[in-house]
């Protein structure tokens, strides 16, 4: 297959071709296309119910698409379970934070390395040398990650006891713990106050510089999108209605209509 050949320099991290998702009679996503190049930081916006999260759920393997193809680094994800997609290099956060609340912060970070633990039940029970080395590396890496995120003082806390903004941060740290090439952020600013949002903008920009990761985010706070993203795609009723840089998207009449209705203009 010619299309799966990876050109190392200019291959997109994520390529979606003709993606369509139907739930019964409802077409949630219709003929959606996108190409994300390595290192890009782009956005996906649209009114409520436009199908944004559905696109993320499709990319992370949570749904199998009705039609179309999703390629991660040139590898088609059709038929792969979500954990396999994650192993290919996709990590995500959720609109409503989904941390493991009865596990310590450190364990949250550790378990996200599950696909590359490199040992199984036997080594775990035998406490072999291999197990001990790996556990040490895992713990070390988790501790380092917590440190760069300035979360190390919470290492033995339970996430449910942390402030909301910190939980958001931890969820992003957990996602990065799986070494993604593509990080999907689903409304990271939801529920944050304006001070937290400023902090989040700084955080996302810092992650983008530090971790060599392509970021694709959904967000309702336009100021966040305008400040961070180089490319924005706008969808409504599952269909792409506009795309381009933030300024172009902001002044697009189709976007205005989608958000505000016909009669405003």
């Amino acid at each position: 297959m010619a299309q799966t050949q990876v050109e190392t320099d200019n291959a997109p991290v994520l390529e979606i071709r003709g993606l369509t998702q139907r739930f019964g009679g409802l077409t949630a996503v219709n003929d959606f296309n996108v190409k994300l190049m390595p290192g890009e930081l782009s956005g996906l916006i649209g009114p409520n119910g436009a199908g944004k999260t559905t696109v993320f759920n499709l990319v992370s393997g949570f749904y199998q698409p009705s039609e179309g193809q999703i390629l991660i680094d040139g590898v088609p994800t059709a038929g792969l379970k979500p954990h396999k997609v994650t192993a290919l290099g996709v990590a995500r956060t959720f609109q409503n934070i989904r941390l493991w609340n009865d596990m310590t912060v450190l364990d949250n970070i550790r378990v996200a390395q599950h696909y590359r633990l490199g040992y199984g039940l036997f080594h775990a029970v035998a406490r072999s040398k291999h197990y001990q080395e790996r556990e040490q590396e895992i713990a070390q890496e988790a501790a380092e990650l917590l440190e760069v995120f300035d979360l190390q003082r919470f290492a033995n806390e339970f996430p449910k006891n942390l402030p909301y903004g910190t939980q958001r941060k931890l969820e992003i740290a957990r996602a990065l713990s799986s070494h993604p090439k593509l990080l999907l952020l689903d409304e990271p600013a939801a529920g944050l106050n304006s001070a937290d949002i400023k902090e989040l903008i700084r955080l996302v920009r810092w992650i983008h510089g530090k971790f060599d990761v392509t970021i694709w985010m959904i967000e309702h706070h336009m100021d966040v999108m305008m400040e961070l993203c180089t490319q924005i795609k706008v969808i409504d009723f599952g269909q792409t209605i506009a795309e381009g840089d933030p300024d172009k998207v902001r002044n697009d009449p189709a976007v205005m209509t989608a958000y505000l209705g016909d009669d405003v203009i």
Binding site: S60, F62, K81, P82, H83, T86, A87, A91, R92, F94, R98, L99, W100, N101, D102, M103, D107, R110, V111, A112, Q113, H114, Y115, R116, L117, Y119, G120, L121, A124, V125, R127, Y131, E135, I138, R174, A175, S178
Partner: protein, 359 residues
């Protein structure tokens, strides 16, 4: 040094003491069998805790897997080492019975683990109440299947295991059953502890707390569920095998839903996701069950003496099956998290951690 070996030392001492007391016959046969059932119950509650506590599923067919283990190890042991009317003469020289015994028990565990697939595979798509119904169905399937195999006794049961126990004692004059029960109990706890405390095994807790997040964060949820269900039912099988050899007799009726419920009670009494809790509650539960046997007749006599109840009527010890569930209701009302909550011994007494390390 002390921290490192204190657990080993304690186990060796208590095991040694137990064997010594049994060997010198300081403990009556009855006391010994109660102690052995305690061990069996510890394995049962700890292994069910793996599914109900750590993984957050609700399995109420644990006795079914126990039944598989009990029958497979009984049949295998008798077939290999004892003269029996079903299998005829012993296949191997009974002199090897002692060395083969752990493998016989383990074989029962393996068979029970395979039977665990009966629940593990549906668990990929089913959760909660629906999976609970599947576990009950699995329990019934296993019991009914065995009841309908006439060759191994059907509902009348199967016996002959005592001969194997006797030939073990012929080889080396020691109370072998208490020894094996002790070894397998420690083995089970050790196995579960190591599994759930590894990063690998913490994937199970991740599934419990948020299965979607677990799958998205690269935990192979189907694989983890399979391993956990098979481990849990396999250990139940080991407990079943020991149970069969302690009694010397098995019948399918003793592994019905009542037995499963008993194990559930122990898990909830001890606390979900707490191994210490499971061990404590299994011991406490066995103790209560036996204790009421003595307390109820005493209470009966006392009540007669103070003319609280009419002369013609006696309180039978069967009333303990009213009292224990009643205790459960009280417990759920006032301490729903069980004795230990989801904490371990070291979480409650952090200072103790200086003196032991259990891994």
């Amino acid at each position: 040094m002390l921290q490192r070996y204190s657990v080993h030392l304690t186990l060796a001492l208590s095991g040694g003491l137990l064997v010594y007391l049994a060997d010198q016959e300081y403990l009556s046969l009855y006391t010994m069998s109660v102690l052995m059932f305690m061990g069996v119950n510890v394995i049962l509650s700890a292994s069910l805790n793996l599914v109900n506590g750590y993984m957050g599923e609700f399995s109420c067919g644990h006795a079914g897997f126990m039944c598989v283990g009990a029958y497979v190890s009984s049949l295998l042991g008798v077939w290999l080492f004892a003269k029996d009317k079903v299998f005829g003469a012993a296949l191997l020289n009974p002199e090897y019975a002692l060395y083969a015994f752990p493998f016989v028990i383990l074989a029962g565990g393996v068979a029970a683990a395979l039977a665990g697939l009966l629940v593990a595979v549906p668990s990929y798509k089913t959760r909660g109440d629906y999976l609970a119904i599947i576990t009950i169905a699995a329990n019934y399937i296993i019991i009914s299947a065995i009841e309908n195999i006439g060759a191994i006794g059907g509902s009348r049961g199967f016996m002959g295991m005592k001969r194997l126990v006797n030939s073990m004692e012929d080889i080396i004059e020691l109370p072998w059953m208490p020894i094996w029960v002790f070894i397998f109990t420690v083995f089970s706890i050790w196995l579960i502890r190591r599994y759930v405390s590894s990063t690998f095994g913490k994937g199970v807790s991740a599934i419990c707390q948020d299965e979607v997040a677990a799958e998205i964060m690269s935990v192979n949820t189907n694989k983890m569920k399979t391993i956990t269900f098979m481990l849990s039912s396999g250990l139940a099988g080991i407990a079943g095998g020991l149970f069969a050899y302690i009694l010397g007799y098995v019948n399918p009726g003793s592994f019905n839903i009542m037995k499963s419920t008993e194990v559930l009670v122990m898990v909830y009494l001890g606390g979900m996701g707490s191994l210490t809790g499971s061990v404590l509650s299994a011991i406490l539960f066995t103790f209560m069950l036996e204790g009421f046997r003595f307390i109820i007749p005493l209470a009966n006599d006392f009540a007669h003496q103070v003319h609280l109840i009419p002369d013609g009527y006696d309180i039978s010890p069967v009333w303990r099956w009213v009292l224990i569930p009643l205790l459960l209701i009280v417990l759920m009302q006032f301490r729903p998290e069980g004795i230990m909550g989801n904490r371990e011994l070291g979480d409650i007494f952090p200072r103790l951690k200086k003196f032991y390390r259990f891994k």
